[in-house]
Structure formats: C-alpha cells, structure tokens
C-alpha cells in the first residue's frame, strides 16, 4: 500500500477483512443449500426405513452411520444459520466422509468401484467449494488413509493379491492427489485474485474518502474564513466612509473590532499552516522538563472565552505541582489549549471541565477505543514512567465507532458538521502529531451518551519522579 495513504481514515474495513468476509459469505451461502438438503434426504430415508423396512433393508442395517451423517449435516445446517462458517463446513465434510465410508461398507469388496470413487471425488470437490484450501488436502489425506486402511482388510486380500488391482489402487491414489493439488491451486489462485480485487477496492475507497474529507475541509475552512473577513472588511469600509464624521472614541472602537477580526483570521490561517509545519518539524525536537500544572493554567487562559457561549465554566484541576513531562513547552501548551477548547465547545454551557494528571507505568490502558502507535518506533519500552493527563468534559460524547476517526486530518464527526459548532478538523490531528513527536500517545474514551461526555488521555514521558505524586 502507498505509505502516504496510511493517514487516510479507513472507514471500510481492512483489506484482509473484506476478502475474508466475502469468502466466508460464499462458503455460508453454499453450506446453507447443501446441509439442509442432505438433512432432508437422510431424515426421509431414516423415516422410510422404519415405515417400509423391507424396501430399505440396506438403510436399516446401516442406520447408525446414516443417523450419524444426518446429525453432522444437521449440525452443519444449524452452524450455517448462525454464521459459524468453519463449524458448518467442517460438519458437512465430516458427514460426507461418513457417507463415503458407508458406501465402502455397503459395497465391499469392490473397493475401487465407482460407488467409492465418486464419493471420494465429490468430497474433495466439496471441500474445495466450501472449505479452506487446507481442507482440500485434509480430506484427500483422510480419504487416502481410509483407502489404505481398507486395503489391509482380510476380506479384500484376495482382490489385492491380483497385481492389476494393486496397480489400480496406486493409480487411484495418485489420481486422487492430482485432483486435490489442482483444486488446491485453483482455490489459492482464486483467493489471490480476490485479495487483489479487494486491494484495488480499498485503495479506491481510501482515495474517495480522502477526496471527500478534503472537500469537507475546504467547505469548513471556506465557511469559517468568511465571517472574520467580512468583519475586517466591514469595519475598514465603515472607517473609510464615515471615519471623519465619527467621534474619536467610536473610531477607536471600530479600529479595535477590525483588529480582533484580523487576529481571528490570522489564528485560523495559522492553525492550517501548523499542520504542515508539524509534519516538517517533527525531527526538530529540543526537550526539557515542562511543569504540567503551569501549562494547564496557561492553556486555560488562552482558550477563547467566546467558545463558552458567554457562560463561565468551572475548571477542576488536580495536577501535582512538581509533576513535569519531558517535552516541549510550546507543544504541550498547544495540545492542552486544543483539548480544553474542544471540551468547552462540545459540552453544554455551565458544565465543568476536569483536568487530572498522575504518573503511570507504561501499561496499555484497557480500552475499546483505537490507540495510535507512536511515530518513533513500535510499542513503548515496558516499565517506562509516563505522565498521564486527562481532560474530561460532560458534553455530547463521541460514538465509540467514530472515535478512531477524530485524530485524522480534516475529519469532523457527521453530527458536528451538521451543527453550528465551528471547527476545521485539524485540532486533534495536531494534538496527535505533537504528542507523538514528544514520544507520547493520545486517545479518547467515551460511551457516546450525551451528558456523559468524553475523556481525552495524553501520555508523555515523565521528566523526573516527583515526590509523593505516584499513582497507586
């Protein structure tokens, strides 16, 4: 896969899963036809042998095996109905093997008669149709073992004393294995073709989603840029047309409003440029010990008060004063500002925001939410001391199945796109990039229930072990 595609949000399931599901559906569809059919036939046979025993003497004498076959087919039908594909196909193949054994028992000593050959070939064909490729080889091996077992039977000894019959036995086994290898190769080839088709589908879907997200982003940025531009343009025109007739105080007021509009515009453009700069400057990292409590309070002071819809919000901070992370001050401040800003934007006016921090060992948190791997390598070293910062709100929450998308570039939840809450889909992406650049991780946990809110977790390397600040 193209490495540049890896950041594209992948709503459609992974390539292997698409292929596996398609194959599973195919096998289930066929199993749902075969198993109930055989159950019906064998059940009728068993019932008929009880009603008219004279006509079905052979059936009555082999009732045990027939009933066992019926039970396996029934198990297969039930498993297929409940979408347990491997149990369904395994039961059907076992039942087919029993039928083959039955045909041999019925037709002894004609071991190589068509009544044995045909079931053997049918079973191998069936395993190719509904089973995994290894099942083809498995059923062939079982069939071969069964034939060789029977060849040792004393009742067949006089048949096998005939050289022609021995040669026929060998030729039969060779032909059986040739058939199995042909079918096995075909099955593997079929799966390879399916995988290639699904690769193309996945790449197309990723490209389409990226295109869609870029459109969303452009629409979102376009919408947000227009308001501050109109403000700036409007106040400048008022000053131009009416400035000379206004009082100095009124003029100053208009100039200040124009200036604020300009700052808002600059901030928006900056956040867009920041995403590119973070990518490029990821390697320019000069870490130092950064006090967490101080950064939290600074970030809180930088959050735009307007996002609180004019209502004061309580910020509950529980961060040990001596706790520091090993990272960059500006980056941590930017992350916390983004998280606090989001907490305010996406929660009801008046609900509190909580920020907590503690020291943890680097054990992966138990969570059903997707976790991101760090940019600078694979899993973190076991036992490393980290600072875990939580930012919790009591707002709308995030649907768990959509949470993985949030940290991707340009992505906003469908719910938020339809609302009036402003956003450009870059804030959390920036948080992720900055966090990973400092050797940390960021993730979110939420039930998706409105009012229960979300908790964003930020883990960064500990600068130095604080006294008395360790978590239990």
């Amino acid at each position: 896969m193209n490495a540049a595609m890896k950041d594209v949000p992948f709503i459609v399931r992974a390539e292997r899963q698409i292929y596996a599901e398609y194959d599973r559906d195919r096998r289930l569809r066929i199993s749902r036809i075969i198993a109930p059919g055989f159950v019906s036939v064998l059940t009728l046979l068993i019932v008929a042998s009880q009603i008219v025993p004279q006509q079905f003497a052979g059936t009555r004498s082999n009732l045990g095996i027939i009933a066992l076959c019926d039970a396996f087919f029934l198990l297969g039908a039930a498993a297929a109905a409940r979408k347990h594909v491997n149990l369904a196909t395994g039961s059907i193949l076992l039942a087919a093997l029993l039928i083959m054994a039955l045909s041999v028992l019925v037709n002894q000593p004609f071991i190589l008669s068509d009544l044995f050959t045909v079931p053997a070939v049918v079973i191998i064909g069936l395993s190719a149709l509904i089973g995994r490729p290894w099942m083809i080889l498995g059923t062939t091996a079982l069939t071969t073992a069964f034939v060789l077992f029977l060849s040792g039977s004393p009742s067949l000894a006089h048949d096998l004393a005939d050289r022609n019959n021995v040669n026929s036995l060998g030729a039969f086994i060779v032909e059986l294995w040739l058939l199995a290898l042909v079918l096995y190769s075909a099955a593997r080839g079929y799966r390879t073709v399916l995988r290639q088709i699904s690769d193309v589908r996945v790449q197309y879907e990723r490209a389409r989603q990226l295109d869609e997200l870029k459109d969303q982003f452009i629409t979102s940025v376009n919408h947000e840029l227009r308001n501050p531009v109109m403000l700036l343009q409007g106040y400048v025109e008022l000053l131009r047309l009416k400035g000379s007739t206004l009082s100095a105080e009124r003029r100053d007021d208009l100039i200040q409003r124009a200036s604020r509009a300009g700052e808002s515009l600059a901030h928006l453009v900056q956040s867009i440029l920041d995403t590119r700069r973070v990518d490029q400057q990821a390697k320019d990292f000069a870490p130092e010990a950064v006090p967490v409590a101080e950064m939290v309070m600074t970030a809180a002071s930088l959050v735009d008060p307007g996002q609180g819809k004019g209502v004061e919000r309580e910020l509950h901070v529980q961060v040990p004063h001596e706790l520091s992370i090993w990272g960059e001050k500006v980056r941590l401040q930017q992350i916390l500002t983004n998280l606090l800003s989001n907490a305010i934007k996406y929660s009801a006016a008046g609900t509190p925001i909580e920020v907590n921090a503690r020291v943890v060992s680097e054990a992966l948190p138990r969570s059903n939410v997707w976790r991101l791997q760090r940019r600078n390598g694979g899993a973190p070293r076991a036992g490393r001391r980290m600072v875990e910062i939580e930012v919790r709100d009591h707002g709308l929450g995030i649907p768990p199945d959509q949470a993985p998308l949030l940290f991707q570039r340009f992505v906003r939840l469908p719910r938020d796109l339809a609302s009036t809450t402003v956003g450009n889909g870059l804030g959390l992406y920036l948080c992720r990039e900055l966090t990973e650049a400092m050797g940390g991780r960021i993730w979110v946990e939420s039930t998706g229930v409105e009012g229960e809110g979300s908790t964003f977790y930020l883990r960064l390397p500990l600068a130095s072990p604080p006294a008395g600040a360790e978590a239990a």
Binding site: T219, N222, H223, E224, R226, N227, V229, M230, L231, Q233, G234, Y235, E237, L238, L241, K242, L246, L254, R257, R260, A261, S419, T420
Partner: protein, 149 residues
Amino acid sequence: MTIPSGTGYRVLIIDDNRDLLDLITQSLTLLGDYTVLTADNGADGLSLVMEMRPDCAVIDVKMPGLDGYQLVRALRGDPDTAAIPLIILTALTQEHYHFAGLLAGADRYLTKPVTPSALVQAIHSVVRLSEAERARRLQALLGDADASS
C-alpha cells in the same frame, strides 16, 4: 457611490454570530440610517418578525434550532408576514444552497463577505420590490427548475 437612505425603515438582522450582528447594526445605522433589530437565533427571529413586522429581514442560514431556510419558508407561509422582503446572508457559496434559498422564498441570496455598502444597497432594493414582481421572479425560478429536471 451614493448609499441610499433608509430613514424610517426597520430592518431585522438574524445571525448567531454576535460580532457580525454588531457590524451590521453599526453599518445600517451609520450608512443607511435604518432602525435595526437583532436576534441571534431563528426562533427569536421568528417571534420578532411576528411582533414588530420589520420592513426587511436579513437572515443567516446556519443557526441553532430553526435554520435560515426554515425561517424563510415559515415567513412566506404566513399571510401576515409573506410580503416582508427577505435577504439570506450566508457563507454557503455552493450553487445548490443559493438555489435552495431562493426557492424557499428569499428575495436575495448574498454570500459573505459582503461590504456594508453592498448590504445597504441590497436592503434598499428589496424593500422597494413589489409583491407582483416577487411572484413573477418566483414563477420564473420554478420554471427553470422544471426545465432542468
């Protein structure tokens, strides 16, 4: 450029962005001598229209609760408010939004950014638009919609 005077006209501005409400209020009072009423959401805007019967309403689209299109349709659907000139002022620039706004019943569809002088000109022109002319334009728009479908 001559900016027409709006002496005596009352204009209602409905937008959830308070900064824009301030700008438009100052623009209309400074440039057009209009009397300005404001509302920061669709529901309050609807109540104000019913109560004050302004000479014109300038309506944003994306607002909490009742959005701009719904508000325009509500006003056009009520005989008491159907004749009030309505301007949609929005950041939605795509053509289908433009069409939807006019089809809902708006007299003008303006996309931000709009300068204060342009806004005053637009308000002045729709206030003078006769009801018969409005009906003729809507009929022409519906005819275009049928032809394109």
